[in-house]
């Protein structure tokens, strides 16, 4: 079995023991690596340390519970194996930069959550490693196109709608809208469809990646790995700007507006 599959067994183990206090040693045994090698391998293949990933997964699920249930912070902390509300609060603040109580009362939407790593995402990281963006500046860019409201974003619809454009590049802008995803497709060329304005400023351009699935993984990488590590903040954490070439050989990009 290759290293990635062995490592993935530890990811699955974390998911099935999320509410327990498990050690890194246990994870190494599940993956059948020595502890020392496991720590090195986990870091290189997931870009998280094992302990940090476990904490982020716990905080992710605890955050969902905090926002969707009437459970107290204490109950949620204990539910996910934190020894005290203070420990939970510190871990929560490290991830969300706000305390659990303040988060609950702030009506903020849930962002910056670490969902379980998938084997496909791990393969993506294995292939691309640490991805550094190119800084680009955008001045007064208007995109003309149309928008589609869907329950979830699908690659099929993206393929279908981007075919409407004959230009070299198609922009795709996604925003959450109630429980649905609003996706706007457009180009710089004028036509009869409605207009989207991309804010002026500095953007980080990620890519190219070779297909739509990789674009999904790249989006996750940016949110979960690159942004926290860079110390930069996205101007709008919920909106994503995709810059997609219609020429398959040029690949797909993501443009992220940043405050520097």
């Amino acid at each position: 079995m290759d290293n990635l599959l062995l490592l993935y067994q530890s990811i699955e183990y974390i998911e099935s023991h999320l509410k327990e206090d498990i050690t890194v040693k246990e994870l190494s045994e599940v993956s059948r690596f020595s502890l020392y090698h496991f720590i090195r391998l986990f870091g290189s293949k997931t870009l998280f340390s094992p302990k940090d990933y476990m904490n982020r997964r716990k905080i992710c699920e605890a955050t969902k519970l905090l926002m969707t249930s009437e459970m107290s912070v204490l109950s949620i902390a204990l539910e996910y194996g934190f020894n005290s509300p203070e420990t939970f609060s510190r871990a929560f603040k490290r991830v969300h930069d706000i305390s659990p109580m303040a988060y609950k009362t702030s009506n903020q939407s849930i962002v910056n959550l670490t969902e379980p790593l998938t084997l496909e995402y791990l393969s993506f990281i294995d292939r691309y490693g640490i991805i550094e963006p190119q800084p680009v500046t955008i001045n007064d860019l208007n995109i003309y196109g149309f928008s589609i409201l869907e329950d979830t974003f699908s690659h099929e619809s993206m393929t279908r709608y981007t075919k409407h454009f004959n230009n070299d590049y198609v922009y795709m802008i996604q925003s959450p809208f109630k429980d649905q995803v609003l996706t706007c497709y457009g180009t710089e060329a004028m036509n009869d469809y409605f207009e989207i304005h991309m804010p002026d400023g500095k953007y980080a351009q990620f890519g190219p990646v070779s297909n739509y699935e990789a674009l999904d993984h790249l989006s996750r990488y940016i949110k979960e790995v690159w942004l926290p590590r860079s110390g930069l903040k996205a101007v709008e954490t919920e909106k994503q700007y995709f810059f997609i070439s219609n020429e398959p050989q040029l690949g797909y990009f993501i443009l992220l507006p940043l405050t520097f």
């Binding site: 890194v24 020595s34 391998l41 290189s44």
Partner: protein
């Protein structure tokens, strides 16, 4: 993979250290992780102030020491020190820390190319199986780097020696 048992005299190392999970800020075997950054920090110091390190034993050799305590199994955090060997610790720069590597018998793994980034425990287990009279102390080991190590970008041409201490009760073997 070659290996040997070797009696190593006490070594005095001075350099810089780090405690934590070195891979929480960058993947393993990457210059961006905490170990890579520790080496960068120490190399920058050496390039500017090497004359301040007195009694240096070798200009070609440097060391990376790994020390695991009780937290290691729980959190994956441990101590790392990178440095060079000196014959005396007095009058050394205040910016550096020191470590005394104990005199004892070590199992020395000579790792080449991809062996350097593999699970070395596999090699250790195989050697211990062939030599059931010895056991290793897993709480500490050090790596010796010299001109035969060409850098992570030329790993296939590189060689590293890893020194794993034998438990004291086994020191009469070899």
């Amino acid at each position: 993979m070659e290996w040997r048992f070797e009696d190593v005299d006490e070594k005095l190392i001075i350099g810089m250290n780090y405690y934590g999970d070195p891979f929480s800020v960058g993947g393993a075997w990457s210059v961006d992780n905490a170990i890579g950054k520790l080496w960068q920090r120490f190399s920058a110091y050496l390039s500017k102030h090497s004359d301040q390190i007195l009694h240096r034993v070798s200009l070609d050799e440097s060391y990376e020491c790994h020390v695991m305590d009780e937290r290691f199994e729980d959190t994956g955090e441990y101590g790392i020190m990178v440095g060079v060997e000196v014959s005396r610790l007095n009058q050394q720069p205040v910016h550096l820390v020191s470590k005394v590597i104990p005199e004892k018998k070590y199992l020395v793994l000579i790792l080449r190319g991809q062996e350097i980034v593999s699970d070395q425990q596999v090699f250790i287990d195989k050697i211990l199986k062939e030599n059931p009279e010895v056991s290793v102390d897993t709480r500490f080991f050090f790596e010796k780097y010299d001109k035969r190590f060409k850098g992570m970008h030329r790993i296939d041409e590189s060689l590293v020696e890893i020194f794993i201490p034998l438990n004291d009760t086994d020191s009469h073997h070899g």
